[in-house]
């Protein structure tokens, strides 16, 4: 049985929710017994909390006193029966508490690799293994029993009026029928015990995401409760996370922990080597005091690498390199200075890694790889900037070339001899004749903006047609899959429901030109602000619709071959829909760039006006100086400073 020294990490918490005034959930967190549980009480006259607490105490006491006598499975079953008896007896003794009861999902850790789970009611146990979430328990509700017996279709269960009515609980009778499960834990497995206040208000995807986040169990528990509260928090919420000991840490984990710390501990060495390498003499930091230059440049990169090592990302280093180089280039700086400073910083980073390698060869090797990766990110960021400059020069050249062509064309027209009548002159364009629509100039024809096109440009015309020629059997199966998927949605998920309808429309569209995808995407997109808060909910809903739709395909009763074709049609339709939605986002962001360019033009004009005025002022002052009486002091005329 698990003792306190168990390497298993556990955390649990409970919250009253946003609607209820009393918390009727109860938890058991007994590391010395290896006993953990979530109980969800029910019953009128304040009896729900009494039931869950009575059962909690009875189960804990039973395990405490009888653990030496019984095998783990039998022990847990008997403990839950004892809990039921305690609640039932109390209900018999107090008339106002008649009918109270509680659910229970209990986990007994036999050893770090072996657990037993018992449950009664609709509190659940989930297992996250290798990133996949599976439900270990089956809800003891009337509707679930009907589905299991084949009397009710799964898609009808979600809408059934009795879907929350329990078929089993602790306290309804002195005895209790307990479901038991033995489980072998693998390294890194995570178990979640929770009440219906969690899974009723947080999606399975969200639970999977948070449970698989790699955060400590106490953080996961807190986040799970938070997400249920954000989902409405209509019930008491309880969550208990049990994490099996992880396998030997991967290279990434070593770098994220020991590597990042070792790097930060050597920051003074990094700054020293950068300073010795001549960083303070680089033109980029000219005008700064040496200490200031070191702090601004070297320490910033040192911090960026540290944060990137911690998170296994490259975003901080990328941002550092981009800001450093972009600022320098904007000031008219040359490439040589950037190359020089990056080489100095790279040398300092390698010196630090060498130091660490001298003390710990393995850590040094891993850090060498990670730091080299960070330095490559710096090079990539610089490469991106250079590519951007090259593009700018290219577009300037194209513009100049277009302007030169226009000038030549204009000169040719100006010098061409006039010809009477309606005969078209060589070189004349229809636009030059009054009353006719102007023709496009070559440079105008080349401007083919995304937003001017009738549909999404990357939806190619030669793409394969998804549903053309699909049999009525496949089309029928698509409709069935979508019906099942819609039945699994909560009433609040309106956008997801709309997307499912759109998916069916696109997947069964016989046109094959994907206008349906674009039209559906436009309808779903509606009016949104161009920021994460406006756009991301649409993509989240699209993702959720995909998960629900594809998993529903597996529930359609048809042959495997038909099922594949249904899945294929729905997946292609989904991809088209997401691509079209992305096209709309790209379309929506265009005006932001255009408006920026417009104000930049105004800034340029204002700067020119200031320069001209400055020139005028200087001219006047020179003129003034030549005619002023030399015997008078300059100051007597007043200052001309502005």
């Amino acid at each position: 049985m698990t003792q306190q020294a168990s390497p298993i990490r556990i955390a649990g918490d409970t919250h009253v929710g946003k609607v209820r005034t009393m918390n009727e959930d109860a938890l058991i967190l007994e590391p010395r017994l290896g006993l953990y549980a979530v109980l969800d009480g029910m019953g009128g006259a304040n009896a729900g909390d009494v039931a869950s607490q009575l059962a909690r105490d009875a189960i804990r006491d039973f395990v405490l006193h009888r653990r030496a006598e019984l095998a783990p499975k039998a022990l847990l079953e008997a403990a839950l029966v004892a809990g039921s008896t305690a609640v039932f007896t109390a209900a018999q003794q107090h008339r106002e508490r008649h009918g109270m009861g509680t659910t229970a999902v209990v986990c007994l850790i036999v050893d770090p690799k072996h657990v037993v789970i018992a449950h009664v009611g609709d509190s659940r146990a989930y297992l996250l293994r290798e990133g996949r979430l599976q439900t270990l328990t089956r809800d003891h509700t009337i509707v679930e029993d009907l589905v299991e017996r084949g009397l009710l279709a799964p898609e009808e269960a979600e809408r059934h009026p009795y879907k929350n009515v329990l078929s089993r609980n602790l306290g309804a009778r002195a005895e209790a029928r307990v479901d038991l499960l033995e489980l072998e834990l693998r390294p890194g497995d995570r178990l979640l015990l929770c009440s219906d206040g969690l899974y009723g208000y947080a999606s399975a995807e969200a639970i999977q995401y948070l449970l698989g986040s790699g955060d400590a169990p106490e953080h996961v528990t807190r986040d799970l409760i938070e997400i249920a509260l954000r989902g409405g928090g209509g019930d008491n919420v309880s969550a208990l996370v049990i994490e099996a000991p992880a396998a030997a840490p991967s290279s990434t984990q070593v770098v994220r922990t020991s590597g990042a710390v070792a790097w930060w501990q050597h920051r003074q060495r990094f700054l020293q080597v950068a300073s010795d390498g001549g960083l303070t003499k680089n033109p980029i930091v000219r005008g700064l005091a040496p200490q200031e230059a070191i702090e601004l440049v070297a320490l910033s990169l040192c911090q960026a690498i540290y944060h990137d090592l911690e998170k296994s990302t490259g975003v901080n280093v990328w941002t550092f390199a981009q800001n450093l180089a972009a600022g320098w280039f904007e000031r008219g700086g040359d490439w040589k200075a950037v190359r020089g400073i990056v080489d100095i910083l790279g040398g300092a980073a390698r010196a630090v890694v060498d130091d660490i390698r001298a003390r710990d060869a393995k850590l040094g090797f891993l850090l060498d790889v990670a730091v080299s990766r960070a330095l490559i990110v710096v090079e990539l960021a610089l490469g991106g900037l250079l590519a951007e400059r090259l593009r700018q020069i290219d577009s300037d050249l194209i513009e100049l070339h277009g302007a030169a062509l226009d000038t030549v064309e204009h000169d040719t027209l100006e010098t061409a001899p006039p010809i009477e009548g309606s005969i078209e002159r060589p070189g004349e364009r229809p636009a030059d004749r009054p009353g006719e629509r102007p023709a496009e100039r070559p440079s105008e024809r080349s401007i083919d903006r995304f937003i001017d096109r009738p549909t999404i440009p990357f939806l190619r015309p030669d793409r394969p047609v998804t549903s053309s020629g699909e049999s009525s059997e496949v089309l029928g199966a698509i409709a069935k899959a979508i019906t099942i998927a819609r039945g699994r949605l909560s009433p609040r998920a309106e956008l997801v429901a709309q997307i499912l309808v759109a998916l069916e429309t696109v997947a069964t569209d016989s046109g094959g030109n994907f206008a349906a995808a674009v039209l559906a995407a436009r309808e779903l997109y509606g009016v949104r602000s161009v920021d994460n808060a406006g756009v991301m909910p649409l993509f989240d809903a699209l993702d959720k619709a995909r998960v629900v739709a594809t998993s529903s395909v597996h529930q359609v009763r048809t042959s495997p071959a038909i099922r594949v074709r249904v899945l294929r049609a729905l997946c292609i339709a989904h991809q088209r829909l997401v691509a079209a939605a992305t096209g709309l986002v790209l379309e929506a962001v265009v005006p932001f760039g255009e408006r920026l360019r417009e104000v930049q033009v105004v800034t340029g004009e204002l700067r020119e006006a200031v320069a001209r005025a400055e020139q005028r002022r200087a001219d006047l002052e020179r003129k003034f100086a030549t005619i002023v009486d030399p015997s008078l002091p300059w100051g007597a005329r007043g200052s001309t400073e502005w």
Partner: protein, 163 residues
């Protein structure tokens, strides 16, 4: 078939799906999408955030090297379309085929999502830059007003001196 075997089977389709013959020894367009798919199939339990990060890096790199968002999306879509056709022919077991279709869809739509995120972030940066420009307009106008006043005063004083 285990997921790792499935990944091996899909890897065989690389040349066909990416049309590598056309691109010589360079990485063909959409290679990052195909690699992400293989990774998703190999690891099996690859978390959504993991896949997201991989593709985020790949898309950011392509955008940094000057490819347009439309090009990135078109390549992802091309890989997706070709894979749908190839998977239909290459896998006899419907269960295998379904796993590949689902994984390919997840990868393709993740690319779209990442591109959309990048576009929205770019719009945010443009918006902030525009605000900075507009603030500098105000300062430049103030400077211009002061310069005009100085010029007027100097012109006036010059007129006085000539008299």
């Amino acid at each position: 078939m285990a997921d790792s075997h499935l990944a091996e089977a899909v890897r065989v389709l690389r040349d066909e799906v990416l049309d590598t013959v056309q691109h010589g020894d360079r990485d063909p367009p959409g290679a990052e999408v195909f690699e992400a798919l293989l990774r998703a199939l190999t690891i099996g339990g690859e978390s959504i955030p993991g896949l997201d990060l991989t593709l985020h890096d790949a898309v950011a790199r392509r955008l940094a090297w000057g490819d347009s968002e439309e090009a990135v999306l078109a390549d992802a879509e091309l890989v997706f379309d070709r894979l749908m056709v190839s998977a239909d022919r290459a896998f006899r077991d419907p269960a295998d085929q379904m796993v590949v279709i689902e994984a390919a869809t997840q990868v393709a739509v993740t690319v779209s999502r990442v591109v959309a995120l990048a576009a929205v972030a770019g719009a945010g940066r443009d918006r902030a830059a525009r605000m900075r420009e507009e603030m500098s307009h105000q300062q430049l106008k103030e400077v211009l007003e002061k310069q005009k006043a100085t010029i007027q005063r100097l012109e006036h004083e010059l007129e006085q001196d000539f008299r």
